[in-house]
Subunit: 235 residues, 2 copies
DNA sequence: TCAAATTTAATGTATAGACAAAAAATCGAA
DNA sequence: TTCGATTTTTTGTCTATACATTAAATTTGA
């Protein structure tokens, strides 16, 4: 293990273990150079990594301090549905329900997404061992992703297809709980009013909007997990 | 803006903007030194930051390449309920319902959390303008957080109190959709079966378990937002 | 011809030193 | 005393250089 990495994980451990509490001061770089018998650049590299991970704050002339935890952000593992299902030895499939190319409606969301072009509208079902796990309603900008108009989406879920064809994205995900109603409840094969986890996601490439998707998952069959801690700060 | 930061954000922009696609090769450090008229250490620092952000991969002898996006993790903003509510100009309050110190039950979760000691069990309501937003059921290890036994939790929600008193944490959050039932529906003042967002969180300090909490929020009044993109990678 | 040994191109780590920048601490004067 | 200027401490950035490490590319040998 490289020295800078050892210094970094040394302090990471002491901070996460509680030995160093928020507000505590760390030794100055000169002292750490002596303690570890290395150059200042090496110490600095280790401490810079801890700053990037949000574990410490550094102020010129004042020193280095353990940061007060700001737990308003965590790393959310967005599950790859297909992979997760197959991991449990079950069978995953995506069944397209409707697909059409149409102009945007009056909704501002749709107008912004279309950006003057058309929208590709895809509805589909996520199936586990043939039973519905979730339903998805997706809009894709035909201007931003022209290839999708002729693409074969029967095998691959559109989310996976997009990930493989659109170079890079920003995304915003909104998670809430709703009751399945009407057509959605019907497709899912449950009674109207059944609680579902609702995931809405908007995706951009730079300033250009790529897709909007609203997914409804059966509450008792699907959940999301987020972590905060060493595992999360590592990347 | 420091030079290494400029180089970093230069390439961040080109990658996120799609100009550099996944798999594309970046110039080698020597070329970048010339391009930016700086030393290798400066170029290296910039590229190392991009590696840490997951935007590029580097292989010795082979070079530097734009990483293929692995969108299985996003930054989840865990809302500070009180702050968020007050931001909208509404009134926030936490009302404790039950509080007792008791030995763990037979449930493995409770036994592990107690770690041989007792559990502090707190139930309470999150109120917005006097109306229930969510109900919370919390267990705290009395061994890990002895101060909580005598603490005054009438004003402050226990989650906030813990954040201020327990030095640092790892946490795991599980999000799902459930129907409010029985006592929970009653406290929330809704019909049994109403969809709620269920947030379960387990918190550690090192190997020691601190708390377990299960929160039920009314689905139509509460949601969570996660981001992926430059804003997220920036910290 | 194919596999093993060698070369080489690229990144990874580290050093020692220099100057810049910020802010706490100290000192001086009104 | 108190405000303002000066000093000092600590981090921030950068350079030039050295050697280590890895894996792709090439050469060598049976």
């Amino acid at each position: 293990m490289p020295l800078h990495e050892r210094i970094r994980s040394d302090f990471e451990g002491r901070i996460l273990g509680g030995e160093l509490a928020p507000g505590d001061r760390l030794p100055i770089e000169q002292e750490l150079m002596q303690e570890y018998g290395c150059s200042r650049m090496t110490v600095n590299k280790a401490l810079s990594a801890l700053v990037a991970a949000g574990l410490i704050d550094r102020r010129k002339r004042a020193g280095t301090f353990v940061a007060r935890p700001k737990v308003h952000s965590m790393v959310l593992d967005v599950p790859d549905i297909a992979a997760q299902v197959r991991e449990r030895g079950q069978d995953y499939a995506f069944r397209p329900l409707k697909r059409r190319v149409r102009p945007p409606g009056e909704d501002e969301e749709e107008v912004l997404l279309a950006g003057g072009g058309a929208l590709v509208h895809i509805d589909g079902l996520h199936l586990v061992d043939g039973a519905p796990l979730g339903v998805e309603f997706r809009l894709v900008s035909a201007l931003a992703v022209p290839e999708i108009v002729g693409a074969d989406l029967d095998a691959v879920p559109p989310g996976t297809w997009l990930l493989q064809h659109v170079p890079w994205t920003e995304a915003e995900t909104r998670i809430s709980a709703v009751a399945a109603l009407g057509e959605e409840a019907e497709w899912l094969g449950v009674a109207a009013g059944t609680p579902c986890l609702c995931v809405e996601r908007r995706t951009w490439r730079g300033a250009e909007r790529i897709t909007y998707v609203r997914q409804l998952f059966l509450g008792d069959a699907y959940d999301m997990v987020a972590r905060f801690g060493p595992g999360a700060s590592g990347r």
